[in-house]
């Protein structure tokens, strides 16, 4: 620091502290206790008191924090002599542990921010030679501190209702949390390392077979569901745009009906319609003499797969139809006209101009739609319930049309096989990671170097 700065500091009364010395003092004080630098050297009372309060709160919770962290490691002792409701609950210990770590991380972030804030105040003091003045509280919160006000609800909600559950799910994969022997509060859960992974990846033939089967079908399903809906929607979009019928607007309204009907309703309704013995579809086919017996739409493993893809096309093509109509109407008319003037036929205009433009605009959405279909619980669960049962269903719970998510649902809600379900959740993570990266690289912020 230059001598001039030191001299300018003099009238403010800190005769003993030079610029450099003060910088170090602020750093030491700020690191020693949150808000201390603000309260002493910088004299920003409100800010300092707020920061100090955060640390004091954390310190009073210290015993609880230690207890929760210890609980996360041990997951409780088996206490068979204690009545069930007084036993240690491993499940709560696990969740509390993850929440405690989240709180500690948030605290560390606030600590970091407080030190940065102190140093920034000190730097501004050094350069301007005037101690930064403190604004009134409402002014601070609506002005400079608006980012805190604006972001706190979002960050807290996402931290505790999205991140904590996901971390919890990942941790459960390394425990034996499953029925019948390890369900709290009657019994404890223990860390078992990679045991669940071993069972699913080669250890047990039933589980490994089911995982391979469901994994493959999930991928096939997602590809088929996306491709059929995309090209079905594109075909209808082109036809609707090209047709000169007077009733075309009405037809368009009719075609978007499946999109407008809530998914649960339409899938449950189709489930009834396609019922083997009583369903309206089979009885209609019988009454017009097309079939004699019944077609097992939902009870034959292969036919059921075909059925879910078809019904999904019924429900899903309108979305892409609307999307592609939107993209097509946004194509500037002069591009089309230029092609026509050059003598291009209608088909050539479509093949060489419209289609590439539409594909370019909507192809990224196919990836998003693919990711959506990988996890399209509703389309499977309400239509087939994951069924029909196949050879390994009694052990693993996975039916003929189950995809990963519907299997996870069954393992969690009906079979209480949380450990295995969590391994599957991790598999989904891995499956979705490329999509996440793709999504990430597509954002403007990434392209502009902000991220």
């Amino acid at each position: 620091m230059s001598a001039t700065l030191t001299q300018r500091d003099l009238p403010l009364g800190d005769t003993d502290v030079t610029g450099t010395g003060r910088c170090r003092t602020v750093l030491v004080l700020a690191c020693a206790f949150m808000g201390l630098a603000h309260l002493t050297v910088l004299r920003q009372w409100v800010k300092g008191a707020t920061f100090a309060l955060v640390e004091i709160l954390l310190l009073t919770w210290l015993p609880l924090i230690v207890k929760n962290l210890r609980g996360l490691v041990t997951l409780g002792e088996q206490q068979l002599d204690v009545p069930v409701r007084f036993r240690q609950n491993s499940l709560f210990m696990l969740v509390d542990g993850v929440m405690t770590i989240t709180v500690l991380l948030l605290f560390a972030a606030i600590y970091y921010i407080s030190v940065r804030s102190a140093l920034a105040a000190e730097r501004s003091w050094s350069t301007h030679g005037v101690r930064p003045r403190e604004e009134s509280l409402p002014r601070t919160f609506l002005g400079k501190a608006f980012p805190i006000v604006g972001l706190t609800p979002t960050v807290v909600l996402v931290a505790f209702f999205v991140v904590v559950p996901l971390v919890f799910a990942a941790l459960v994969a390394f425990t034996n949390y499953s029925a019948p022997q390890h369900i709290p509060p009657a019994n404890t859960i223990d860390w078992v390392g990679l045991e669940n992974f071993r069972r699913l990846f080669g250890g047990s033939s039933a589980w490994t077979g089911a995982l391979g089967r469901v994994f493959a079908w999930t991928l096939v399903w997602a590809v088929l569901a996306t491709v059929t809906c995309y090209f079905g929607g594109m075909l209808m979009a082109v036809l609707v745009q090209e047709s000169k019928f007077k009733i075309t607007p009405l037809l368009r309204a009719v075609f978007i009906l499946p999109y407008a009907i809530p998914g649960v309703v339409s899938m449950l309704f189709w489930n009834g319609m396609l019922n083997g013995a009583f369903g309206t579809v089979n009885r209609t086919l019988q009454s017009i003499g097309l079939i004699d017996g019944t077609i097992p739409w939902l009870s034959d493993p292969w036919l059921a797969k075909f059925t879910v893809v078809t019904i999904n096309l019924w429900a899903g093509f309108p979305y892409f139809m609307l999307l592609i109509i939107g993209t097509m109407t946004a194509i500037p008319a002069d591009i089309i006209e230029a092609a026509q003037i050059d003598g291009a036929s209608k088909w050539q205009v479509f093949r060489r101009v419209t289609l590439p433009l539409v594909m370019y605009q909507t192809a990224p959405l196919m990836i998003i739609s693919f990711a959506h279909n990988l996890n399209n619980f509703g389309a499977i669960f309400f239509l087939t319930g994951g069924g029909p049962a196949v050879a390994d269903t009694t052990t693993t719970g996975a039916g003929g049309t189950d995809i990963m998510v519907s299997w996870i649902y069954k393992l969690t809600i009906t079979l209480l096989q949380y450990g295995n379900a969590s391994v599957l959740a991790i598999v989904i993570f891995v499956l979705l990671a490329p999509v996440a990266i793709f999504n990430f690289r597509r954002t403007k912020s990434y392209k502009e170097g902000e991220l």
């Binding site: 972030a109 609800p153 505790f160 009719v254 809530p262 809600i413 959740a425």
Partner: protein
């Protein structure tokens, strides 16, 4: 000749698709009005067994249908309003301020976008149990809000990034506070994208199943999707009641979608492509 053939082919395709789309819809209306209970009694030709309104009466008077409807409405409205409020504030901060951990939070949100919320449903259950939010509507709203935030924040942020910063910088130089700029400049400017978000956030809870199933245990706190599902589970087979109840929700949705298809097309193309 070719043109005539084209018209015939086009007409044929439209007829087939329209039939495939409408056939189940007509049967749904027919089932809601048909006498009897189970799917087996339903006529092959729609409305062939006559028409009765008894299922609507039954659904409204003998089941907690109205209660379910009200619950869903409360959840949908709160989620929609909360999503708009928090997403617009968060997006404004991300778009216009520089601060510690900004990059990290944005990246985390982007990654969280991809993962379905119910992967961690057991933990959601326990967290709600811990704060007393189990079997309550506000607990449900909190989960939905948290689930919406990463996507919604990104969406509004991308939108705000395209709006020239000079617009609000001028106000800042004139001494307007961060909050005033948010309320008087940013929110009005972001209205199209906020409307889109509000509609999406409003429609989703109507038919969501997994999370309400986990959180809302008592019959009087359930939502429509759970209630309708309970009509046609293995234990019950009140298919016609289900159809009647479904129709009551589906019709407003159908009217809304058909009426707004123009702006729907625009917002789908605009909102989704820009991401």
């Amino acid at each position: 000749m070719v043109r005539k053939l084209n018209t015939v082919v086009l007409g044929a395709i439209f007829t087939i698709v329209a039939f495939a789309v409408l056939w189940p819809v007509v049967h749904m209306v027919s089932a809601a009005l048909a006498p009897g209970q189970s799917i087996a009694n339903l006529p092959v030709v729609p409305f062939a067994n006559g028409v009765t309104t008894q299922h609507f009466e039954f659904v409204f008077t003998q089941t907690p249908y109205l209660r379910w409807f009200r619950n869903t409405l409360v959840i949908a409205v709160c989620t929609s309003v909360g999503t708009m409020l928090f997403a617009s504030m968060g997006a404004y901060v991300f778009s216009r301020y520089q601060f510690s951990f900004k990059r990290h939070i944005l990246m985390t949100f982007l990654i969280l976008n991809i993962f379905p919320a119910f992967v961690g449903m057991v933990a959601v259950y326990v967290v709600l149990l811990r704060i007393g939010g189990l079997d309550t509507l506000w607990g449900m709203v909190l989960i939905y809000l948290a689930g919406n935030m990463p996507f919604a924040t990104w969406m509004v942020k991308s939108y705000l990034d395209q709006i020239p910063k000079s617009l609000d910088e001028a106000a800042r130089i004139d001494g307007a506070s961060g909050f005033r700029i948010y309320a008087q400049i940013i929110v009005p400017v972001a209205r199209p994208i906020l409307t889109f978000l509000a509609v999406t956030a409003f429609t989703a809870p109507w038919m969501d199943f997994i999370l309400p199933k986990l959180v809302l245990r008592s019959p009087e706190n359930q939502t429509l999707a759970l209630g309708l599902f309970s009509f046609v589970t293995d234990k019950n087979n009140f298919f016609t009641n289900f159809a009647a109840g479904s129709l009551v929700v589906a019709v407003p949705f159908m009217i809304f979608f058909v009426a707004t298809q123009k702006s729907l097309i625009a917002s789908l193309a605009g909102g989704a492509v820009k991401g």
